[in-house]
Symmetry: C2
Subunit: 396 residues, 2 copies
């Protein structure tokens, strides 16, 4: 149930002093091959952290041998000096891994090392700490080290997020961090997914993009998009099993879906997990736009925190989507909350008192546009006192 | 300093039992002329409350003699029955006002009565209470009744919002309610603005649209847009002073700007008022899009609540605006918070510790895109425990 479930990988997670708490904060993942196929999906934010800029370039050849991840600092908005820090980190990892190389072919170049950082924006990293952490992590690399790595990338996460999908003779494993700033186009989340299937880089890229589109991209905790979001897929080929794009996509999607649900369940300060299904839409994009409007309504999400099935706020949110994006008749809208049809044909339906939110963490909002056959489900959380508290206190 | 500051108006505000607290909940504003010029700007939400549908139709001829407003129920998402309730309210107001008519020309038709409602969505109004309230309000109409009316439209507002602009021989007065759900395209806000200038309906409409575009539309408390937002301008002509469109626009803008600032200052549970200025933009729309991204960032607004000048969250928000909407180079962005240049050229500037948010309610965020000459300022609030509390408890 980790990134070292698939064969051909070693991992480690160590404490390097980047976090003031003394918790683990540097993770290293190494792909021992025989393949080094790699793909990455990166934040679409125009303000991109140095490690995102680096990783985009480093993975462009479809190959990577290692990923180094740190918590305790995002290395975003840190200028040319911050980019130099990321470059230096990758070079250091490459040198450390090459020191044990049996043959020149086993040597690792900096361009084969992907870098991820998470933490506060706008501060330089403690490079002495980080490079020392890389040394320690390299010494601790273990074929069962996935769990250690998953713990080392946590920030405000309360639990490590891990998943695996077992197939016939091959598998996919994954880890993720993120507990706020989850938003479409990814979120402040880092995720590494591994497989021992035999796949080339183009297949890995296609599978990862298909998987993230229907998993991480359908999680929206607070509508905010981060500067550091990264999802990486590494394929070692160590199983010797060749798989099709469809098979790989299915397994990677299973792992990403599990990780995405774990992120929502651990979102900062949430007391309810909310699934918003919009059905009867003219297109998938129309359904997505309406669902996003609901998952971004602070008013609705605060109502859910208060165990108040305030369906008027659902309609008010859906009503903000322009007609050219999502055609529908406002007087045809139906809304059910946890199975109770509280709104029928844009008007009052069953009594809202029939909806019991207090006894359930899970809330299911079902909106029917009656305008087509497309359907989408997004996941989000309620807006709570604890969300405000955690996000007001994070950097101070 | 009220809607009865201009001559030619009477107003009243009474308690009709729509609010469980026994507070005033029905307001009536009557334009005694000689003119009955009227204009309205209404929510752009596709889910529109019955009074919005009614008012849009009733004002389409550019004339109105009265506005009836109730708190204690929004009459939104209430179907054909809800629309019938609004129609009946307008007819009742017309009948009551016509009862005292000296001549047939003084009689008021239902189509001359605009209707506004505010409160919970999805519940029918208590019509016996409302119509009784109309009778009481008609009996209490007073040339100095503006203050009473302003109090009767309050919901979670902690203070009544009123303003006036005195010009040479004529004036503009206004009242507004709203303390949450303030968003572009208006907000859950109702506002009535009056003037005794001599203006026709087309001039009133042009002035009102110009004024709201740069005032109410630049207030964004929580990104949510309501089903009931209405701003009405009534002109009595009682001053006998003819004014130009520019003169009227200036005075109406002054009143709307004052009311908009009062709305932000009283936003539900806020502890900081935040002005976000985006300058150096290629167009006004580009500046607006970037400013809106910041005013809608829960993470940034929660940081301000924690007195944390977390400028990285400002950059992360600006970074979500697509390049075709707002061209800029992320490595050229400057951010100042309360005058301290915390971010320079997309990287670290002055130490964030120099920013003192704890001692000031007002926060000014200044973003320079270095991509043109356009500039926009939006107003919003921080995201606080009290915001979550008030909006989780509102309907229960």
């Amino acid at each position: 149930m980790s990134i070292t479930t698939p064969r051909g990988f070693r991992a480690a997670g160590v404490a390097a002093g980047l976090k003031s708490t003394g918790a683990r904060d540097v993770a290293l993942v190494v792909n021992d091959g025989p393949l080094a196929s790699a793909a990455a999906v990166l934040t679409s934010n125009r303000v991109q952290a140095a490690p995102v800029v680096w990783t985009r370039q480093a993975v462009s050849d479809g190959a990577a041998r290692a990923v180094v991840l740190n918590s305790g600092g995002a290395n975003a908005c840190t200028g040319p000096e911050g980019f130099a820090d990321t470059h230096r980190t990758a070079e250091h990892v490459a040198a450390v891994l090459s020191a044990g190389a049996a043959t020149p072919e086993d040597e690792v170049g900096a361009g084969d090392v992907l870098v991820c950082s998470t933490g506060l924006i706008g501060l330089r990293l403690d490079m002495d700490g980080l490079l020392g952490g890389v040394d320690a992590a390299a010494g601790a690399l273990d074929p069962d080290g996935g769990d250690d790595a998953a713990h080392a990338i946590m920030t405000t996460d309360s639990v490590a997020k891990q998943a695996a999908a077992q197939r016939d003779g091959w598998s996919v494993g994954g880890m993720a961090k993120g507990a706020g700033m989850l938003a479409p186009g990814l979120a402040t989340m880092l995720s590494v997914v591994t497989t021992d299937a035999v796949v080339d880089a183009a297949t890995a890229d296609a599978a990862l993009r298909a998987a993230t589109r229907t998993t991480f991209d359908r999680v929206d905790s607070d509508g905010c998009m981060s500067t550091n979001d990264t999802v990486i897929l590494l394929a070692s080929g160590a199983s010797g099993v060749e798989v099709t794009l469809a098979e790989l996509t299915s397994a990677v999607t299973d792992v990403c879906a599990s990780l995405a649900r774990q992120l929502v369940a651990d979102a900062e300060g949430a007391s309810h997990d909310i699934a918003v299904t919009v059905r009867g839409a003219s297109t998938e994009d129309a359904a997505l736009a309406c669902a996003r409007a609901v998952t971004r309504s602070n008013l609705f999400k605060a109502a859910v925190f208060g165990n108040d099935p305030n369906w008027g706020r659902v309609l008010a949110a859906v009503g903000t989507v322009p007609p050219d994006v999502a055609p529908y008749d406002p007087l045809s809208l139906d809304v059910a909350i946890n199975g109770v049809q509280v709104c029928r044909a844009g008007g009052v339906g069953e009594p809202r008192e029939l909806v019991d939110l207090a006894s359930h963490r899970d809330v299911h909002v079902d909106v029917d546009l009656h305008a087509g056959d497309s359907e989408v489900t997004l996941w989000t959380n309620d807006l709570t006192h604890d969300y405000v508290h955690e996000n007001s206190a994070y950097s101070s």
